[in-house]
Amino acid sequence: MSKKILSIRNLSKTYHTKESETIAVKDFSIDIMEGEFVVIVGPSGCGKSTILSILSGLLKPSSGEIIYKLTKPLSIGYMLQNDHLFPWRTILKNVLLGLEIQGRTTPENIEKAKKQLETYGLGKFMHQYPYQLSGGMRQRAALIRTLAIDPDILLLDEPFSALDYQTRLAVSEDIVSILRKEKKTVIMITHDLNEAISMASRVVVLSKRPGEIRNIHEIKLSSEGESMLQKRKAPEFMDYYNRIWRELDVHVE
């Protein structure tokens, strides 16, 4: 049994404006196991991104606590909707950005980053600029940039939503296989239930604002292969889909 690496206890966050205060997240508690792929789904504005911002340390919670069960200082990788590769840097320089900021550009780390670029098919593009790459390749480069700092937990904030549908399928497949290979613990946000169910080991469903946990589903699919398209063909897939869809309680008003 894998061990717990992160405990979130009663996390709440309130945003203040001159006119009002808005409770974005309320009493969010969950334990994350090592190597898990947790996907958070919920209606827009339910505070999904707020949770990731708090976990990444960029935002302070109003109350609650986060307990990391690690012996070494925690390292977190945060991936956003757009790849945000810097146009003035080559792909390699972009990938080294995190290491540079953390003052860890040792020859070994640079070598490792280069090897990762090679492994994931970007070796040839190392010295090119982002605009010379396709959307899918850029997203892969952004992932390698995140992996280069060797994070214990990866936070993905709708990482595929800027891509068109076909690229999105290919890229999510791609990214999941990379993450699985690197045995990373991942917390991801998405709108796309297909994506959530086929990628996740657990799906967390949030309610409308203020975001509270409605339910947590363990996903177990009896599909033959590991590929996401095959997983979508598993008989249980539609069950999960319908249940989560109902819990999301989406109305068009």
């Binding site: 956003l80 757009n82 945000h84 003035w88 950005l97 900021i101």
Partner: protein
């Protein structure tokens, strides 16, 4: 042996390129014709006494003045002083303006405090400060440069600071998620992303520095093209005035082209 060469059939793309080239040639040619026609008309009008060449001068007189000014070395002395002042003005203006913009970005508090003052300084016609500058900096090159600086610095602050604020906030979040300090955010994101804004400020400052320098020279100096223009008009040597204006026009265009070229080199 005689061979038939059928006229080569142009492909559609070649035809397209050819049309563009033809159009460009037409535009350039028309420009040149307008310029030449202007000078010819000016000369004819002066010779036939349609206009009084004492107050309008005429191209041949301008040419002669140009030659004598060049031979006596006067022209280059004044030209270099003016160019020197302008270059110093726009480089210093860009550097000082960018530094102040960095300070404003660094401290939102200072930025909020200074905002109304910057707005006021921007809308104030800087020439009104001329007399004060002369009193403080003395009637010389320093006063001219201060004038140019005053004009270009304010606009640089506004443009570059605006550029800083337009940097995608998610890029900042990205580097912060790696644990970047404020200085690193500035170095890794804000400055490189605002590079085009800074180059653009440089371009605007070339023009503004010319304004500042000529204005300054009108007010105080004893040398420079602005001085030649004012001096020429005071002693009714319109040939000198027109010559100086012509040289000024050419110098400012050359400098603008230089900066535009620099821009192309620096921004890929």
């Amino acid at each position: 042996m005689y061979m038939w060469n059928k006229p080569k059939q142009l492909t559609e793309h070649e035809q397209y390129l050819m049309d563009i080239r033809k159009e460009n040639i037409k535009v350039h040619l028309t420009r040149i014709i307008i310029l030449i026609a202007f000078f010819i008309l000016w000369e004819i009008a002066a010779r036939l006494m349609w206009i009084d060449s004492f107050i309008t001068s005429q191209p041949t007189a301008v040419y002669n003045t140009l030659i004598s000014l060049t031979q006596s070395g006067e022209l280059f002395k004044h030209l270099f002083i003016t160019i020197g002042e302008t270059v110093l003005g726009f480089i210093l203006g860009t550097i000082i303006g960018t530094l102040i913009a960095i300070m404003l970005w660094w401290s939102p508090f200072i930025s909020r405090v200074l905002d109304p003052f910057i707005v006021m300084l921007n809308s104030l016609p800087k020439v009104a400060l001329g007399p004060i500058i002369i009193v403080w900096a003395g009637a010389g090159i320093t006063a001219v440069i201060v004038m140019a600086l005053l004009i270009s610095t304010i606009i640089t602050i506004i443009n570059v600071y605006g550029g800083f604020n337009e940097v995608d906030s998610e890029k900042v979040i990205l580097v912060q998620s790696f644990g970047a300090t404020k200085k690193q955010v500035l170095q890794k994101v804000i400055l490189p992303a605002s590079y085009p804004a800074i180059i653009n400020a440089l371009k605007i400052n070339v023009g503004l520095s010319w304004v500042g320098v000529i204005m300054g020279e009108f007010l105080v100096s004893k040398a420079g093209l602005g001085y030649l223009i004012v001096y020429g008009s005071q002693v009714f040597k319109l040939n000198l005035v027109m010559t100086s204006i012509l040289v000024l026009a050419i110098a400012s265009v050359v400098m603008y082209i230089g900066v535009a070229f620099l821009e192309k080199k620096l921004i890929k």
